[in-house]
């Protein structure tokens, strides 16, 4: 394999691995802060126990998100030096802002939260998890604004052999980035809420801490439903933005080969890349795709055949990832809606079928996240900066294929081991359930 392919595999592998942990961090940090706030305002100790229990899972997960994030920042220079040199004038800024504004806030106040139970007042303690959670969420904004620039480059001019920034405001107000931010952030909330529902359902199946886990489930069901619906709505806006700015990505997502007006949407569809058509096209909803893409039933959609084959993304993986993501998202909306109603019924904990379903639903949002990443980044190919720079031109020239093969091997071994340990610990602490000893917890808030 050549150095470009190996570098792409390494970037995808390390980014997708990083993305196993980050969405849960985004969602669980906010929800833990919510629980602690409930405790501080009501004084109800169940909320404190919830804070401690879900907070513990948050921290075990958080550690791996942080350390795998270092890889992401180093990797632009390590493997994509030509890219970094060419676009650093624009791309470096949001990354540096992310580090100075949000990473410090997040890391410092996580430390205060973990170690500060006995050292600061209740309110300041709750404030510290809020600061950490907000910082975490904000860091997603800056990295997604940077990513949005790769998808829809704005506010720059090609000069002095590189892309130079001309309009910082355009970069930070890039609509592509803000839509993506809302889509991604809320997907993290939904993922965290499904984890809480799943773990709670497992304990309810074992009739363990019924009050604690019913309350957790009820809270999470509402979060999951609201978040999943917003993810769906922002996904629709995102698709409109993609149709406008990245026609090749949109055509691949929908396996649309011909350029036409008033395009319908086939419910059963499968692309045949070699013959540049679809081998299956059934159950067409007339004009639906035009309506979805441009909110106009008669709009023209550019097909893949309007672009030379070397400028098209890998159609089948993008098409499949998009369908899977959307399908799993639909399941999440329905399952969380059912969760809201069923968890308010008296015999909720006897509904073993539904509780079992929710345990097995824990991986669903994780898969949807990964497929979403694939749609976004595979769909951008062959460009690293859409329409401006090709991925093949972006790779480091001083790095050899052997070096990347070895580092990739190292990542696979290291990440494999750490991921296994982390998931093992998450499962262990999730199954263990909340601490029983309330007196110890109240003592911890002794100075409150």
């Amino acid at each position: 394999m050549n150095v470009v392919t190996l570098s792409q595999i390494q970037f995808a592998a390390t980014c997708m691995f990083h993305w196993i942990f980050v969405p849960l961090t985004l969602g669980l940090s906010i929800m833990t802060a919510w629980m602690e706030t409930k405790y501080v305002t009501t004084g109800d100790e169940t909320w404190l126990r919830m804070t401690k229990f879900w907070g513990k899972l948050f921290l075990i997960n958080f550690a791996l998100g942080v350390v795998t994030g270092i890889t992401m920042e180093f990797q632009f220079g390590l493997n994509w030096a030509e890219y970094s040199r060419y676009v650093g004038d624009i791309f470096g800024a949001p990354l540096a802002i992310e580090a100075t504004l949000t990473f410090f806030l997040e890391s410092v106040f996580i430390g205060v939260w973990i170690f500060g139970w006995k050292k600061i007042s209740k309110k300041v303690h709750a404030l510290s998890i809020w600061l950490a959670a907000i910082a975490t969420n904000l860091s997603a904004l800056f990295i997604l604004l940077a990513n949005a620039w790769m998808q829809k480059p704005v506010g720059f001019v090609l000069r002095n052999g590189r892309a130079e920034m001309t309009d910082f405001l355009a970069v930070v107000t890039n609509p592509y980035g803000w839509i993506k931010f809302s889509h991604t952030l809320l997907s993290g909330y939904a993922l965290a809420a499904f984890l809480i529902m799943g773990v709670s359902a497992w304990h309810l199946l074992h009739k363990n801490e019924v009050n604690f886990f019913t309350r957790s489930f009820k809270m999470a069901a509402v979060w999951a439903f609201v978040a999943s619906v917003i993810v769906g709505i922002s996904g629709d806006f995102h698709a409109v933005e993609i149709a406008r700015t990245q026609p090749t990505k949109f055509a691949a997502m929908e396996a649309q080969w011909e350029t036409k007006r008033g395009v319908g949407m086939n419910l059963l569809l499968f692309p045949d890349v070699a013959r540049e058509c679809n081998s299956v096209e059934q159950v067409c909803v007339p004009n639906a795709l035009s309506l979805l893409a441009f909110h106009d039933a008669n709009a023209e959609i550019k097909g893949l055949k309007s672009f030379p084959p070397e400028l098209r993304p890998p159609v089948t993986p993008v098409f499949l990832s998009f369908r899977l993501m959307a399908g799993l998202g639909t399941f999440m909306i329905l399952a969380s809606l059912a969760g809201i109603f069923l968890s308010r019924r008296k015999n909720f904990i006897d509904n073993r079928a539904f509780l079992t379903l929710m345990v097995f639903a824990i991986p669903v949002p994780y898969l949807a996240e990964q497929f979403g990443w694939l749609v976004a980044e595979l769909g951008r190919q062959p460009w690293i900066v859409y329409g401006v720079m090709k991925t093949t031109d972006a790779v480091s020239k001083s790095v050899t294929a052997t070096q990347v093969a070895l580092s990739l091997l190292g990542f696979i071994v290291l990440y494999g081991l750490l991921g296994a340990v982390d998931i093992f610990l998450l499962v262990k602490y999730a199954k263990k359930g909340p601490d029983k000893d309330l007196s110890n917890l109240i003592d911890m808030q002794g100075r409150a």
């Binding site: 513990k56 550690a63 270092i70 650093g88 624009i90 802002i97 973990i114 500060g116 920034m165 750490l418």
Partner: protein
């Protein structure tokens, strides 16, 4: 305003970010690998990990900020530094990854094998970055074999991982290891009580002579191995910087010998800061010199961002960095007390 003012400003800021990173992560790395030699038994190990627990992550962010600042302000330097030093930085990255999770994972299970496994992980993953950062900076001071053409934008590099392990790179590597060993031992002595604290102070005193010898060798060897002294010959008043480094290093021993650990630690901080300043002052205006062709040197002038980007980043830094320093001081005040075994055993969230 002229772009060179911003380029110089960012060179200063770049130096400060690296210096502060080494000062702060220096004691975490030092505590990490010295814990093997200072702590006896599991409880003492945990005390040491918890002594750095609240701050290690925040300290490591200085590295991410130094990296991010290099990317935003000097993208060409960022690109060539990371890609040319690929294998060394991958190793460094693996070590930093393991170090971070070791703290989190070690206390989560009770098995003896589990804990001894993570103890070894902490030893290696704390020692390796100390050595590799030193080797990397030694090679940056010396220059690396690269040929850069800034008009045709052709860049090439002729080095290897083995090539970085040249005598001067290794001396700088050992210098960093010993600096962090003393720094970490002093931090342990400062943050713990009783016999553990005494043992750590004794360790700092014991290592210090070796540090002095290596520091002298480093300063002498820098003369033939690098061009760092040129700036000092041109502007002799700058010699105040290495003088402060040397005086601080001597005062570390003076105060450690009198068992005034707080003062010794402060001078250890100053030593690390001024060792870094000594190096980068000698580099200016280069960021990474070429060892084979002076025209290929990466300087702040030929590798920087545009004026607009530098201006924006200056505003961001002017707002964020002082704010960060304020809340970090507040946090260090909250956790200023010494860490005891009772405290660690009584906190279910402790590492």
């Amino acid at each position: 305003m002229d772009i060179s003012i911003f380029q110089i400003t960012w060179f200063v800021l770049w130096s400060v970010l690296w210096a502060v990173y080494f000062m702060l992560d220096g004691f975490v790395l030092g505590t990490g690998f010295m814990s093997t030699f200072i702590a006896k038994g599991d409880t003492e190990k945990r005390v040491l990990i918890n002594a750095v627990g609240p701050v290690w992550d925040g300290n490591e962010v200085w590295l991410l900020t130094a990296g991010g600042a290099t990317f935003a302000a000097f993208p060409t330097t960022y690109a060539l530094m990371f890609s040319n030093l690929y294998s060394a930085l991958i190793l460094l990255l693996f070590a930093l990854i393991v170090r971070g999770v070791s703290f989190e994972f070690r206390g989560k299970l009770d098995g003896v094998i589990w804990k001894s496994l993570w103890d070894k992980a902490i030893l290696v993953s704390s020692f390796l970055p100390a050595l590799l950062f030193g080797v990397a900076f030694g090679n940056i001071f010396k220059g690396i074999p690269m040929r850069n053409d800034f008009t045709s934008l052709q860049f090439s590099y002729d080095g290897s991982l083995i090539g970085l392990l040249n005598p001067y790179g290794l001396v700088t590597g050992v210098l960093f290891v010993l600096l962090f060993a003393v720094h970490g031992s002093l931090y342990i002595a400062l943050k713990t009580v009783g016999e553990l604290s005494d043992r750590a102070a004794a360790m700092a005193n014991k290592i210090w002579p070796a540090l002095l010898v290596v520091a002298v060798v480093f300063l002498a060897y820098t003369w033939p191995a690098t061009k760092l002294y040129n700036n000092y010959m041109d502007v002799p008043v700058l010699l105040i910087i290495p003088v402060i480094a040397v005086v601080s290093l001597l005062l570390v021993k003076v105060f450690a010998g009198k068992n005034e650990i707080g003062k010794a630690f402060i001078f250890s901080c100053l030593t690390i800061l001024f060792v870094v300043f000594t190096g980068v002052t000698g580099l200016f205006p280069n960021m990474i010199p070429s060892s084979i062709d002076p025209a290929s040197n990466l300087t702040i002038f030929n590798s920087s961002s545009s004026l607009l980007t530098l201006k924006i980043m200056t505003v961001v830094a002017a707002i964020c960095v002082p704010t960060v320093i304020c809340y970090k001081i507040w946090v260090y005040r909250i956790f200023r007390g010494r860490v005891t075994s009772e405290e660690v055993l009584g906190n279910s969230d402790a590492y």
